[in-house]
């Protein structure tokens, strides 16, 4: 494997956890949805 190829494959590497980038993207967006839902519950509980 040449240096350039090695570098290229490293740049295309999958995430170190979570399986794939798509999964990680979904986790970030799901986290946002859960937070908004929790904030909504929080707002209603204390208003």
């Amino acid at each position: 494997m040449t240096g350039e190829t090695r570098k290229h494959s490293r740049e295309e590497e999958p995430p170190p956890f979570g399986g794939s980038w798509r999964t990680l993207y979904a986790v970030v967006l799901a986290n946002l949805a859960v937070l908004v839902a929790l904030f909504y519950v929080f707002t209603r509980a204390f208003r």
Binding site: E11, P15, Y25, N31, V36, F39, Y40, T43, A45, F46
Partner: protein, 565 residues
């Protein structure tokens, strides 16, 4: 401030400067200076990104915003995680593949030199001005606390940042950002725990929160749609997404942070971590402010939180009137505290009707206190046309009520917040000045060493510029909105140019350039002649750039050469 606080504060400041100098001691070439030799791991990229965004404004004005207006400001950040995903999937691989030093280098390859230069100049104008505001905020704290001339304080802080940013470049900036952010969050957690512990023993934290909520301070989400409303779910999700796309995708002070990652994966993880953590972090900072509000329902607050201005009012021509209003405010506080306790008792009894009645009494007492405060603000207008103590609420609490040593720690955290964002900004301004202006337009064939030294000198230049501009930042009103508004005047246009580059492959450089001019004109029109909330400027600017460029594109494309046919 007690002696221990001074020791903690100055030890922290001296320590971080020494750490920055030590980390930057091996900076030997341009790659090192501008992108930390592209060798940072994701956790350092992530915290450096967060430290850059979270300036002292975040930790001073945001709690004050919650105190005065509630927690709805958190919605501004709802679009950020979406933007992090979009940038991770699109911009990061492009920037990394091209091995650029600045985001604007990409535009020349994709469009042409004039589009790159326009974007670089927009960034220099935007960031050059706002870096003065970032420097001003903590200087304000010290000047109020120590009674020093604010110009001297600005000079001291700016000088400290300049020491390590101009010698160690991005390597020193990223490493100090990482450490500073950990200390900042530690300081905020300590402040929160202290507030909770200072609540009256007969009032639980949850009961105090109910009082704050009943007075409109725990209003985190509002789903109603109104383009004139600064903070609601829709403006936060859409306007906030555009703002975050522009800030993280086109602002060199952020692009430089993830360009220093070891690989695409490390840079992406840094951004995604920010997408996960930023919203809860902002919620926490706002909740800190709302908790300070709850605390002041049971402890007498000053009628105006800026002690210098309040003292000036007491000694002024209407001093007797101001002092009478302070006495009246104390009486109004007693009534409000009584109403708050009645409300809590009704909650404890589980009596809904009594709670409803007590809550009406609480709101009436709050209105009465606000009326008295309004009178005090009228007196203060003698000295300041728009008296605003939002930025002093948290600071005032810290210095009055926190134990010795912790005051120094929290103040050091606020200093670090300012230093981290300021250092990133100066480093990015220097990179853009040298790479996009000097090396590309003014002196193309100099040695690597020449540009390396130029980058150091450019950092010093921007530091001096920021220090000079900071002298006037105090006249811009609430700091949070000043910084955000300044950004929103240019970010939409910058984002539009990059959107054209990433997603509209047929658009020419000239069309993009003309579209950018049209976008900027549209944003300035909205700013001067409409009442549209500033978050929407990002959407308007980006859309006008894209639509104008698409409309003009057929006119700017070269006609196909048919001579051979």
């Amino acid at each position: 401030m007690r002696p221990l606080d001074w020791v903690v504060l100055f030890a922290a400041l001296a320590g971080i400067v020494a750490y920055g100098l030590w980390k930057g001691r091996r900076t030997r070439d341009l790659d090192d200076f501008l992108v930390a030799d592209r060798g940072q791991r994701w956790h350092r990229v992530a915290l450096s990104i967060m430290a850059t965004q979270a300036s002292a404004v975040t930790f001073l004005a945001t709690p004050g915003q919650a105190f005065a207006d509630g927690m709805r400001f958190v919605q501004v950040y709802f679009g950020l995680p979406v933007a992090m995903v979009i940038l991770s999937a699109t911009a990061v691989p492009i920037y990394r593949r091209l091995k650029v030093y600045t985001a604007y280098e990409y535009l020349e390859g994709r469009f042409d030199l004039k589009t790159r230069t326009l974007a670089a100049l927009l960034f220099l104008a935007l960031r050059g001005l706002s870096t003065g505001v970032s420097l001003y905020a903590p200087s304000l704290i010290l000047s109020v606390i120590m009674g020093w001339d604010i110009r001297v304080v600005i000079f001291i802080i700016g000088g400290a940042v300049m020491l390590y940013a101009s010698t160690g470049g991005a390597r020193a900036v990223d490493n100090t950002n990482f450490l500073q952010f950990l200390i900042i969050m530690g300081g905020m957690v300590v402040a929160f725990v202290t507030i909770v512990r200072l609540l009256p023993p007969d009032v639980s934290f949850l009961e105090a929160a109910h009082v704050a909520g009943k007075l409109g301070r725990l209003n985190a989400v509002d789903f109603s749609f109104d383009v004139k409303n600064q903070y609601n779910f829709w403006s936060g999700l859409l306007g906030g997404c555009f703002l975050a796309l522009a800030y993280f995708g086109t602002d060199q002070s952020q692009v430089q942070r993830y360009l220093s990652g070891q690989s695409v994966a490390q840079s992406r993880l840094g951004l995604l971590f920010n997408g996960m953590v930023k919203v809860p972090m902002q919620f926490f900072i706002l909740f800190l402010g709302a908790t300070v509000f709850a605390f002041y329902q049971f402890t007498q607050p000053p009628v105006f939180f800026n002690p210098v201005q309040a003292e000036r009012a007491r000694a002024g021509a209407r001093g007797a009137e101001f002092r009478a209003l302070e006495t009246e405010y104390a009486a109004a506080f007693d009534e409000k505290q009584k109403a708050a306790r009645e409300y809590i008792n009704a909650l404890r009894a589980g009596d809904d009707a009594a709670a409803e009645s007590a809550s009406a009494g609480l709101k009436a007492a709050q209105d009465k206190a606000n009326g008295v405060r309004g009178g005090a603000l009228e007196v203060l207008k003698e000295f300041d046309a728009k008296p605003n103590d939002t930025n002093y609420v948290f600071l005032s609490f810290v210095t009055r009520y926190m134990p010795a040593g912790l005051v120094g720690l929290v103040l050091a955290a606020v200093f670090f917040a300012s230093m981290s964002s300021t250092a990133s900004e100066w480093s990015a301004l220097a990179a853009t000045t040298v790479v996009d202006i000097q090396r590309r337009l003014l002196k193309r064939d100099a040695s690597e060493r020449y540009y390396f030294v130029s980058s150091k000198l450019a950092t010093v230049f921007w530091g001096c510029f920021a220090i000079a501009f900071a002298q006037y930042a105090g006249q811009l009103g609430s700091l949070v909105e000043a910084v955000n508004r300044l950004g929103s005047l240019f970010y939409g246009t910058l984002l539009g140019i990059f959107l054209l580059g990433f997603y509209f492959r047929r658009v020419t450089g000239t069309a993009a350039f003309l579209g950018a001019l049209a976008g900027e004109a549209a944003v300035l029109y909205c700013f001067f002649y409409t009442s549209i909330a500033f978050l929407w400027f990002n959407v308007v600017g980006a859309l006008v750039v894209v639509l104008a460029a698409l409309a003009l594109n057929p006119l700017t494309r070269a006609k196909p050469d048919t001579s051979e046919a």
